[in-house]
Symmetry: C2
């Protein structure tokens, strides 16, 4: 029962499982058919092994592993043959000592290189395979003089295995990690927008419980996004994404979305129990706060929608005109409100709310800038209704009826 | 030059690289010496391969991979032999079809199982190796009737390789991931404490720049901590850590530390430009805020110190007595302050500061509770000076000269 639910939650899990089975069965055919078996020898089993370790959920991960494995095997095979020949010059006593020294040095140097963050992000697997193949070729060379055959067979079988994995991964219902990253970042911004719109809507607040916890997932999305961007760079152009799609820009937007989420999280701690409008002035400030929350939420939702459709949004200034007007209005209300009560303590929650919301408005503007930058770097299509960035429209004179907030 | 710096930054990277070289050279000896070679046959190369893929930076990761690999090879070898025998009953035409069907089904089912979060966290590698070994044994069985020998040799060589990796990893300057997790969580709390103490110290604020960005790293530590806790559970007892050390409690503390860090991050946006005491009342509130920040910082630093030394801290109530007194003082100041200016806007930053600090004080208390819980679950030793939890001391009558703050 729970297994079925788990599969239905994301049917791609079931599809992926069938894809792995298919690729593995396909590559096993190499072993079944005698002509191929004779060609590759007992090492044909490396092709099976390659499929199992290279096949990943997304195209980017599979391609990254496959390319790493193929290139590393090729280069390390060459090094291994070289080491074997060097060592065999001092046959017989010096050879095992030299081989052991080579293995030790290569393993230590390559392992150290793997610690460098840039290497770790993209080539970790390749460097591991490099050590592996170098050891296999140079060590087996001592026993088996057919070192060339060994290196050649290992390379061919790995080419066959990697290609099978990549082809099945791309041809049958491919999961593009770049698209996943795109959707993740869009959904994160959308969730923040939903929360802010919900927070701005006083009625739904009074009903309680309508504000979800969706923004919480944004808080911890950093390592996931970075990993996805690294993998996305292995993917060729597909669908609406070109080869040189600016994946790094998604990380920039993701970072800003997280900054916004920290503040939204602070906001959620000011929910019902705290904010109780104490008097007419309090109500005015609260209304302006809710208005600002709604407008920021709308801007974020609009940005998310444009990005999801890969349409070029309006210029950043036009996008944030409404939220900026609401922020100005809140500042004006704060500036002109008279406070005729003695006790500062009653004022703290509402003042804190205003301060956080003004910061959220600022972050919203930075997110708008980053999204506009993405749309230009990624050559999103201009929407029919959107104003092209070359001809910025003058900011709307009276953007909004600012003081008639939602409270 | 940069390589040298990178090595000096964390010398364990250099040590680890030598350890990998050592283990790999050691296991290559199996291949050199003829008696061993004759015993294991050409499959001795699996031992080399195992060392390369199993050897990880920490003991927990190496042990986890090694155990996963050994158990999965053993079980999958059995399944593979079973599948081979079943298939060979319908020799010759049915056999390849049956083998292909077995491989397909096992690969699909096991791949699907790997998606379950609990499996993924601890047994992902084992399930991968299960598919691998099952395919190798059942598929090669079709060509090579010595399927028992194949399964047996694969298991023996993998035992040799895994043991070599684990022994070298544990014996030569071991890196215990549990200790790393312990230190990471302690350092995170310490960084938050440092920041709050620094924030409370008005003079250093005026000099500017003394407040670091150390708390930023706490914000994104979630996935790292979870990964470490998963690996730590593979480690045997070592040094001051027992086998059943409550690693999950560290995740609880880590989550609270992150909540605190979100608020500290909000605090850092109220630094110099915003907070300008406007009058005598503003100065009083600011002084009380700084006092509270200092006290929260001291509590966090004390908690971090006790945890680092694995000493039992004072009971939670006694730990937070000073910060609670400072929070009460801030509330009192807010409650009694008279606000004789008209404009609300000048009040917003200081009110927001007070609100955030009161929340930080609350989170500090929850961190204290969680640390005390850890110290009891992990059987930390009682410090000489600490009061045992069975005899709680009465809270100090006059905890602090509360209003003479640092401003």
């Amino acid at each position: 029962m729970r297994v079925k639910e788990f599969g239905e939650e994301d049917p791609r899990r079931v599809i992926h499982s069938f894809k792995v089975g298919l690729a593995l069965t396909m590559v096993s055919l190499f072993y079944y058919f005698k002509p191929l078996y004779d060609g590759f020898g007992v090492n044909a089993i490396w092709a099976v092994l390659t499929v199992v370790v290279v096949f990943e959920f997304s195209v980017g991960a599979t391609l990254g592993k496959g390319l790493n494995r193929m290139v590393a095997t090729f280069v390390a095979g060459g090094f291994g043959i070289g080491a074997h020949h060097l060592a065999s010059l001092s046959r017989p006593t010096g050879e095992p000592i030299l081989i052991a020294a080579f293995v030790f040095i290569i393993a230590a140097v390559v392992t150290f290189t793997r610690f460098f963050p840039k290497v770790k992000a993209r080539y970790d697997y390749g460097f591991n395979i490099f050590i592996l193949t170098f050891s296999l070729v140079s060590v087996s060379g001592y026993r088996d003089s057919q070192v060339w055959t060994m290196a050649h067979e290992r390379l061919s079988t790995i080419l066959v295995g990697s290609s099978t994995a990549v082809i099945v991964c791309v041809v049958v219902y491919p999961v593009w990690i770049g698209e996943e990253l795109h959707n993740l970042v869009v959904t994160n911004i959308e969730n923040l927008g939903e929360f802010l719109v919900g927070f701005g809507d006083a009625e739904s607040n009074n009903n309680g419980k309508t504000l979800g916890e969706d923004h919480k997932s944004v808080l911890a999305s950093k390592s996931n996004e970075e990993n996805m961007a690294n993998l996305a760079r292995w993917e060729p152009g597909h669908g609406r994404f070109r080869l040189q799609h600016p994946w790094k820009q998604y990380l920039k937007i993701g970072t800003l979305a997280r900054e916004c989420a920290y503040k939204v999280d602070a906001l959620s701690s000011y929910l019902n129990p705290h904010v109780q409008p104490v008097d007419e002035m309090g109500s005015r400030v609260e209304a302006a706060c809710r208005e600002l929350s709604t407008e920021c939420g709308r801007v974020l939702k609009e940005l998310a929608l444009a990005t999801r459709k890969m349409k070029r949004p309006k210029p950043a200034d036009a996008m944030v005109a409404s939220s900026r007007a609401a922020a100005d209005n809140l500042k004006l209300v704060l500036d002109t409100s008279k406070w005729d009560r003695q006790r500062l303590v009653e004022l703290v929650p509402i003042a804190a709310l205003a301060a956080v919301l003004l910061e959220i408005a600022e972050t919203t503007e930075r997110i708008a800038d980053a999204v506009v930058e993405l749309s230009s770097k990624a050559h999103f299509k201009s929407a029919d209704s959107a104003v092209s960035p070359e001809q910025p429209s003058p900011p709307p004179a009276a953007a909004l009826p600012v003081s008639s907030g939602g409270a």
